[in-house]
C-alpha cells in the first residue's frame, strides 16, 4: 500500500545509465527541434537557442541579477533544508509508528493534490511579505513527497535487518547508524529527487506572486513586459540547474543501490 503511494509520486524506476552518445544525441536533437520551432513560430515568439544563451549572458551581467539570484537561492536553500530535515524527521516518525502512518498517509496524498498556489494568500497572511513566505511556500510544495518516501523507506526496511541487529547485539544507536539508515537511504534519495524539484517550483511560484525580488519576480516581470528572450533564458537556467541536480541525485541513487 505504502510502496504504491510512494511510487505514485516517484519518477520512473532506475533504468540504468545512458551511454554518453545517447545523451549527446538527445541534447543535439532537443537543440535542433528548438531551433526549428523557433524558425517556424518566429524568433520574437520563441527565441532560438543561441539567442537564449546570449540573453542568459546578458542577464548574468546585468547589475542586480546577482541580488535576485542570491535572494532566490537564500529562499530556496532554506526551504530545501527545512523540507529535507522536516520531511525526513516526519517520515521517520510516521514510518516507525505504523498506526500514525496509516492514519496520515491519505491525508498527505490529499494535501499533495491541492493546487497550493490558490492557498498562497493564506501563507502571505500568516508569514507576511518577506522571504519567510517564499520559504514556507517552497517547503509545503516539497515536503510531502519527502515525508511519503521516507515513511515508505522505513516501513520497507526488511524485518530480517532488525533480527540482524539483535543477533549482532548492537545498541539502538549502532543499529540505527550501521543498519537502519543505510537501508533506508536509497528510497529517501528517490524522494529527494522529486522533493528538490517541487521545492524549487514552490519557491519560484511564491516569488511570482507578491514579491519584489528573486528569479520568480524577474520571470513575472518578463511575462508582464512580454519579453520572451528573458523568459526563455531564465527558464533554461532553472532547467539546467534542476537537471544537473537531478543527474547528481540519480548518480548518488545508483551508487547507493550498488548496481542493483
Amino acid at each position: 500500500m505504502n510502496e504504491r503511494a510512494a511510487r505514485q509520486l516517484a519518477g520512473p524506476g532506475n533504468s540504468g545509465r545512458a551511454p554518453l552518445i545517447d545523451s549527446v544525441l538527445l541534447v543535439g536533437g532537443l537543440l535542433l527541434s528548438w531551433e526549428l520551432a523557433s524558425t517556424v513560430l518566429g524568433i520574437e515568439v520563441l527565441p532560438s537557442p543561441w539567442r537564449t544563451l546570449v540573453q542568459l549572458r546578458h542577464e548574468f551581467t546585468s547589475p542586480d541579477f546577482g541580488a535576485h539570484l542570491a535572494e532566490t537561492s537564500k529562499a530556496f536553500f532554506s526551504a530545501l533544508l527545512l523540507a529535507v530535515v522536516g520531511g525526513i524527521a516526519l517520515g521517520l516518525v510516521l514510518g516507525a509508528r505504523r498506526l500514525a502512518g496509516d492514519v496520515m498517509e491519505p491525508v498527505l496524498i490529499a494535501l499533495y493534490s491541492i493546487p497550493k498556489i490558490s492557498l498562497y494568500p493564506i501563507i502571505l497572511l500568516i508569514f507576511g511579505l518577506g522571504i519567510s513566505a517564499k520559504i514556507a511556500f517552497g517547503v509545503i510544495h516539497g515536503i510531502i513527497p519527502i515525508v511519503i518516501f521516507t515513511m515508505t523507506a522505513v516501513r520497507n526496511i526488511r524485518p530480517v535487518y532488525m533480527r540482524c541487529i539483535r543477533v549482532h547485539r548492537l545498541t539502538p544507536w549502532q543499529g540505527a547508524w550501521h543498519v537502519l539508515i543505510p537501508a533506508a537511504v536509497p528510497e529517501i534519495v528517490a524522494g529527494l529527487r522529486i522533493g528538490f524539484s517541487l521545492t524549487l517550483l514552490g519557491t519560484l511560484l511564491g516569488e511570482m506572486f507578491a514579491s519584489q525580488r528573486g528569479i520568480g519576480h524577474l520571470l513575472m516581470l518578463a511575462i508582464d513586459r512580454n519579453n520572451p528572450p528573458t523568459i526563455m533564458a531564465l527558464a533554461l537556467m532553472l532547467f539546467l540547474f534542476a537537471t544537473a541536480v537531478s543527474i547528481a541525485l540519480l548518480q548518488w541513487d545508483r551508487r547507493l543501490r550498488r548496481g542493483n
Partner: protein, 256 residues
Amino acid sequence: MSFRYRVVLLRSLVIVFSIVLLEVASRLGWIDPVSFIPPSEMALSAWRLLRDGTYQSDMLLTLSSAAVSIMLATSVGFLFGLVLFKLPRLRRVLDPLLMSYYAVPIFVFYPMLIVLFGLNRWPLIVLGFLFAIVAMAVNTLNGLQRVPQVLMRTARMLHMGRTQEVLLITLPASLPFVFTGIKLAIVYSFIAIIGGEFLLSGAGFGYQIAFAYNNFDNQTMYGLMFLLLTFIGVINLVLHAVEQRLYQRRVLKELA
C-alpha cells in the same frame, strides 16, 4: 478488519480536530481575525457563493478547461509512456529530465502560448496538459514495465492477436498503474490550470481567488478556497475509491 476501521476513525478524528482547532483559534482571536475567518464562516460563505451563482461561470470555465486538458494529457501521456516503454534507450537518456521537468514553473511559457493559441482558454488548457502529461507517461511506463513477461507468453500460447493481447492482457494488467497516472494527471491539470488562472488569467476559479485577495474580500476568498478544497477533496475521495477497487483484487491477501 477492525484495525482498518480504527484507522479510518482516527483519520476522521484528526481531520475534525484540526478543523475545530482552527475554528476555536479564530473565534477566540488567537489568529488575526482580519486575515483569517473561522472554518464555519468559510463554509457559510461558500454556500452563499453557490446559492447566488455569482461564480458559476468561472467554475464551469475552470472545470471545462481541466476536462479538456485531462483528456489530452491522459491520451497523449499514455502514448508517450508506450513509446518510452518500447524504446529503452530513449527512456534512459530522458530519465533525469523527467524529474527536473517539474522544477520549472511552466506558467512562464504562458505568453508564448498566447501567441501560439490566441487569447482564449487554450493557453491554460495547454499549461494543464504540459504539467500533467509527464506524470501520466511516467506512470504508464511504470505500469507497462510491470506487466509480467509470462502473461505475454500466455497470450501467445492462447493464439491471441495483437489487439486482443493489448485489450485483454496488457491493459488490465497495467491498469492499476495507468490509473495512478490518470489520477495524477487529473490532479496536476487542476494544479496548473488553477495556478495559471491565479497568476495570469482574467477568469476562472483561481483568478477569482486572487482577485478577492487583491480586494481584501476575505469572505469571498475563503469561500472560494473552501469550495475548491471541497471539490478537490471529493475528486480525491472518488479516485481513491476507484483505485481501491482496482487494487483490491490484487492485494486482498495483504489486507486479510
